[in-house]
Symmetry: C2
């Protein structure tokens, strides 16, 4: 007898019919004698509807009350799914985050889970019931309703799986797994059977929106075997797990990319201690997230400083930088918001030399100019002109033979 936590997102429970389909899938697990906890999101569209109501009340809605409001979305879904299960003759019981209880800190709209009391769930599971839990929500120490922020339902599922020591945590979405790259860009992209937590983290932070990054961190930290599957089709999906000896030893696992980047450069900056802070401080103070940062010594006593931001923040960041430039007596500010970031990701590159050179050679052969380079232990990222995105992804996909099933080592 195994114990599973299944999580279904908004589109997977977006209608009466979809919820009934989920109930059928859950019942199968129950019927074969396994235990199952189901975490649900709000029906797609509901959260936005509630947000619109909130904004009609208060331009910037009170955070505590916003959490009270948004938490109703998941509560509706959990009750409906539980009814659908009862209708199939499958015993079920639904719980809000507060009932479980999922204890969080008091940071309304972006709370973090502190503890889960799994006693009640264990009793239900032992009694042969399916347990349905509202994702995305919890309560703080004073019993105020909190929500976990975007993608919070994934985090709820992983946290429950960790607390219950579940055999696997299944995240059902509208894609059937993690791919070597976006199939809309490279039709030869292949679904990965497995990927490591580290690789998945790099993928997620690079804008591959399959899983919420916090839930992957959480799963890695508590060693929860995480599987991404489609709620619309059958299949094994992709298992996210620790690197082990049995693991497929591909040099790199996937190619991620991010279209929403913009690049800013300030040249001729006097090369003095604290200069990086003076440049990036005002940008960070304006709540603009900075991604890649590169600094080059120009040769004389000055330095060139380049960083990337989200394309939406480009104009504001540039204005701030013009002010900084004058203050520092730097030479000039330039920028480009028609760039993209492409990254190759793989734990295999730790133990293999030559990955970077293969990447750079491949891009050079296609005549693609590299504008920035940044590396981590299991990732190499380059910034190139936007127009080269598809060409670069396909060339790299082919160069690293990602379309081929890896050979077991």
């Amino acid at each position: 007898m195994a114990l599973y936590v299944y999580k279904f997102g908004g589109t997977s429970v977006g209608s009466v019919e979809r919820i009934k389909a989920v109930a059928q899938r859950v019942k199968k697990v129950h019927d074969r004698g396994d235990q199952i906890v189901v975490v649900v999101s709000a029906m797609s569209g509901e959260t936005n509807k509630l947000l619109a109501l909130a904004k009609a009340m208060q331009n910037t809605p009170n955070n505590r009350e916003l959490d009270v409001l948004l938490a109703t979305g998941e509560q509706v879904t959990m009750a409906l799914l539980s009814m659908a299960l009862h209708d199939l003759g499958c015993p079920a019981c639904s719980y809000t985050g507060g009932q479980v209880k999922i204890l969080t800190d008091s940071s309304h709209t972006k709370a973090r889970i502190r503890n889960i009391d799994d006693e009640r769930l264990r009793k239900d599971l032992a009694a042969g019931r399916v347990v349905v839990v509202a994702g995305f929500q919890g309560v703080d120490q004073e019993d105020n309703i909190t929500t976990l922020g975007r993608g919070g339902s994934d985090t709820t599922a992983v946290a429950l799986a960790a607390a219950l020591k579940a055999d696997e945590c299944h995240i059902y979405t509208d894609v059937d797994g993690v791919y070597t790259t976006d199939p809309r860009v490279e039709p030869k992209a292949r679904r990965l059977d497995k990927i490591t937590f580290e690789e998945m983290l790099e993928m997620a932070s690079l804008g591959s929106k399959v899983l919420q990054i916090r839930s992957v961190e959480f799963a890695g930290k508590y060693n929860v075997a995480l599987r991404v599957l489609s709620s619309f089709t059958e299949g094994q999906g992709t298992l996210i797990t620790y690197e082990d000896n049995q693991m497929e030893q591909a040099l790199i696992s996937a190619i991620a990319f991010n279209r929403d980047e913009a690049k800013l450069t300030i040249t001729g900056v006097p090369d003095l201690p604290g200069v990086a802070y003076k440049i990036l401080g005002p940008v960070a103070d304006a709540n603009i997230e900075i991604d890649m940062i590169i600094q080059n010594i120009a040769g004389d006593d000055t330095t060139d400083f380049t960083f990337t931001v989200h394309r939406n923040d480009y104009r504001q960041a540039k204005e701030l930088l013009v002010g900084v430039c004058a203050q520092l007596g730097a030479k000039a500010v330039s920028g480009d918001d028609k760039i993209v970031k492409i990254s190759i990701v793989g734990v295999g590159m730790r133990s293999h030399a030559g990955i970077a050179s293969t990447m750079f050679k491949t891009l050079a052969q296609e005549g693609i100019n590299i504008r920035m380079i940044s590396t981590s232990e299991i990732k190499i990222s380059v910034v190139v002109d936007e127009k080269y995105l598809e060409l670069a992804v396909r060339a790299l996909h082919s160069a690293f033979e990602l379309e081929l099933e890896p050979v077991e080592s």
Copy 2:
């Protein structure tokens, strides 16, 4: 400094604009230094929308899960109202029934309140905050969400007023108070400034749907001063309170009526012990509510037995009675579903003779035949043909001079 509990029903919070209007009204109370707890229903239409979703899942939705689902309606309203108050600069905090906490028994969809823990509310009130509470809901001892059934928000308000020893409990509806009779039937009908709990109970049970009967019982039991007012207009409404010496000493206070009655008679029943049970047992077993019951000795060793039911149950009750008639060896079953019940209600009739004769004389003068009579200590009810309803109500309203303001005794 006074403490008020205000309750706003579904139409009073039916839109963004209506909720903002409620916030304005509440803020005025807060601004003048009084303490206020606001109980809200679901926005009008929401509960029916949720019920439809439930029925799409399960023909007869699981009661526990139905409560989980329906409770979201009030939770949405309470968060929105709290935001609207914040938007006006009025500090506010919203609570679900479970958070308050309003402890009920475990009878899902028709739970009864057992206890209210008012400590948290008192803290908020002391800190100068408006407290917004979801009506209609509570939790049982195992923290399962329960609902109180139809009109449950009125009961929540009265129970909170009792627990907090509030000065007054205001029920805001779409009418501006309790009238001497339905103004659509008698345009001279007058709004009552005061009415006693006992009178209000008789009115409510007679189909005057201003207040849910349980909430009136509750208010009477715990001596909560209850006021019915319109949420759409200004005014003092009607205060429901205990009879006291200062109270206006009208002979009768109001004329209530019920259009939905039907009458059934079984004649020639052998007059033996247990015969009433044999007749009414099968009707009660079919969950048909019986209203008036009259038994007359026919003179020989048989008796005639008459009772009234809701018009919707007439056909089914008659069929059952035909079976009973054969079993008992009674003579015949007859019936009439074109009858109405008209009642005069007033605590004053306790101490005044001649009320009944005035009533009967008035109806006789109009040529209205009385089909049944039933009395209680503060009420006289007659059943007449449906076609006489308006004529009878107007004649009685005039005979008892209800259009005139009563003279203080």
